[in-house]
Amino acid sequence: MAAPYTSREQFEVYRFHWITFILVPLMALLLQAYLPLRVPFFDLFDLPLLVTIYFGVARRNQLTGMATGCIIGLIQDGLTQRPLGLYGMAKTVIGYAASSLGLRIDVDNPGSRLLMGVGFYILHQLIYFAVARGLAIQSLTWRWGHEVIAGVANALLAVVLFAVLDKFRQRA
């Protein structure tokens, strides 16, 4: 069974196998939890966020983008000791914003993917930080330098990851 998704800008229909929609986010969550144990600096990256952005812009459907972000975010919250909803809210907004952006601009270009990666990463961190500090009374300190560097690193990874994920996209 394959789920049809339409690229409205190009008027092309992309098909993804349903297994892809389950395995890719699952793999992202698994690797995000496992790799920091072996590669200490890996916690700089946020693979579930990149997958949320990818599915958001690829599907170009605000509802599914939002749902994908919400589910991935809540699972990610479930793995931490912090209250549920911090990643959930941040990724819900990112899923929605990414799919809204996918409706308007060409997101297959590596340059636009790079900019999108930096922008969405910083937006995600800002939302998480604001909710965690303002609503969940968590002690966090914002570091601009760190967030910008992490944003660029995530964006570079996004360019590579999105190119790999494009291989799973089938034209109808």
């Binding site: 969550l29 496992y34 946020d46 479930g78 931490t80 000791q81 998480y128 969940a136 968590q138 002690s139």
Partner: protein, 371 residues
């Protein structure tokens, strides 16, 4: 209304989804104890991820160990030689330290000190992290089915790691000591200053000891051990060493501590499942239960370094040390036989070749505990 929903449908749904999550968040902040659907979501999330993590970790470990144990055996012969030499050296040291530890126990028994003993531990494998840069936590492959409970201390051979924070049926979340929300009671071994070890608030993974006045003298390299004051970690476990001391806010110092355990490279940990408190028995040997303060006992100033200008004697061989120990025991037995069952002030015969130590004053009436 219908038109508004059609035109702004997705925005309305987005707002509704965010609002529901916000309500859930408010509920959790108001009632920090997780019950009902919140606990359920967490259990589902962990149950969905950890089985894959376990398979993943075991596969990687198996592949890695196969390679290192059966294929890549370069330099193993020379390493064996080095390790044999190291074992010889450590054997000598062990004999000496066991004498020191026994003496420390005898002194503590005399003073009726209550000590914490690590009675039971459980080895666990680290299967994953929390995967978030805002938190510092790890998942281990043991959970409620294995008897783990919240707040049990987690250590490695090098030092403390953290405490069990959430227990799931077959896995547990361990909050590491460098998490911003963690805290552990510590004491600086040299100055005996007590403080609370906390993770850095910015989430950098560094650890700091707070609440130490700025007029205290602390130097980089000072050893930090657990104080036992938090009722989680037994007293005397190694925590780390002071890395940097700088003025903090108000009249306090900012003491950065480098953890003794490699928190970024954890593979296996020990969960302390049972700690007992009892007065030390002078007959306890090193083969008995591991005592939390054994590490401290090993550092008692009984072995004095040779003074400048003095020629230090070469360390005695294991056979020599064993013979001396036998002679000391024999002398003690003869002493006990001659004194009968009366409780008399007895001057302890110094162990051969043993440096003088801070011990019981000669006019103190004591009964030498049996050897």
């Amino acid at each position: 209304m219908e038109n508004v929903l059609k035109r702004h449908g997705t925005i309305t749904i987005l707002t509704a989804v965010l609002f529901v999550q916000l309500l859930g968040l408010a509920y959790q902040v108001k009632r920090p104890t997780e019950r009902g659907p919140i606990r359920l979501i967490r259990v589902w999330a962990v149950s969905a991820i950890t089985p894959f993590e376990k398979v993943f970790v075991h596969t990687v470990d198996w592949t890695s160990s196969s390679w290192h144990n059966y294929v890549y055996l370069r330099n193993v012969r020379s390493q064996n030689e080095e390790l044999r030499d190291e074992i010889q050296r450590l054997r000598l040291e062990q004999v000496r330290l066991s004498q020191d530890a026994n003496q420390a126990r005898r002194l503590q028994a005399l003073l009726a000190f209550k000590e914490q003993y690590i009675s039971e531990t459980m080895a666990a494998q680290v299967i994953s992290s929390t995967g978030s840069e805002f938190t510092r936590g790890i998942y281990i492959d043991k959970g409620a089915r294995d008897g783990l409970k919240r707040d049990m201390p987690v250590i490695t051979a090098d030092g403390i790691v953290g405490k069990v924070y959430t227990v799931f049926p077959s896995s547990s979340l361990v909050l590491e000591i460098n998490d911003p929300s963690s805290g552990a009671g510590v004491i600086l071994e040299k100055s005996r200053l007590q403080g609370i070890l906390k993770g850095e608030q910015r989430g950098t993974g560094e650890t700091f000891v707070g609440n130490i006045m700025s007029d205290e003298k602390i130097e980089p390299g000072d050893v930090v051990v657990t104080s036992g004051g938090d009722r989680v970690f037994p007293k005397g476990l190694p925590v780390g060493t002071v890395d940097k001391v700088q003025p903090g806010s108000d009249a306090f110092l900012n003491v950065r501590v480098r953890p003794a355990a490699r928190l970024d490279r954890l593979e296996e940990v020990l969960v302390i499942t049972k700690v007992v408190e009892k007065t030390p028995d002078a007959n306890d040997t090193l083969t008995g239960p591991i005592r939390a303060a054994d590490i401290l006992a090993q550092r008692l100033p009984t072995v004095e370094p040779p003074k400048a200008g003095e020629k230090s004697a070469p360390p005695p061989s294991t056979a020599e040390l064993a013979a001396r120990e036998r002679a000391a025991k024999k002398a003690a037995q003869e002493n006990t036989t001659s004194s009968g069952s009366e409780t008399k002030p007895t001057a302890k015969a110094p162990a051969p070749d043993k440096p003088k130590t801070a011990s019981v004053p000669p006019d103190t009436t004591t009964k030498e505990p049996p050897h």
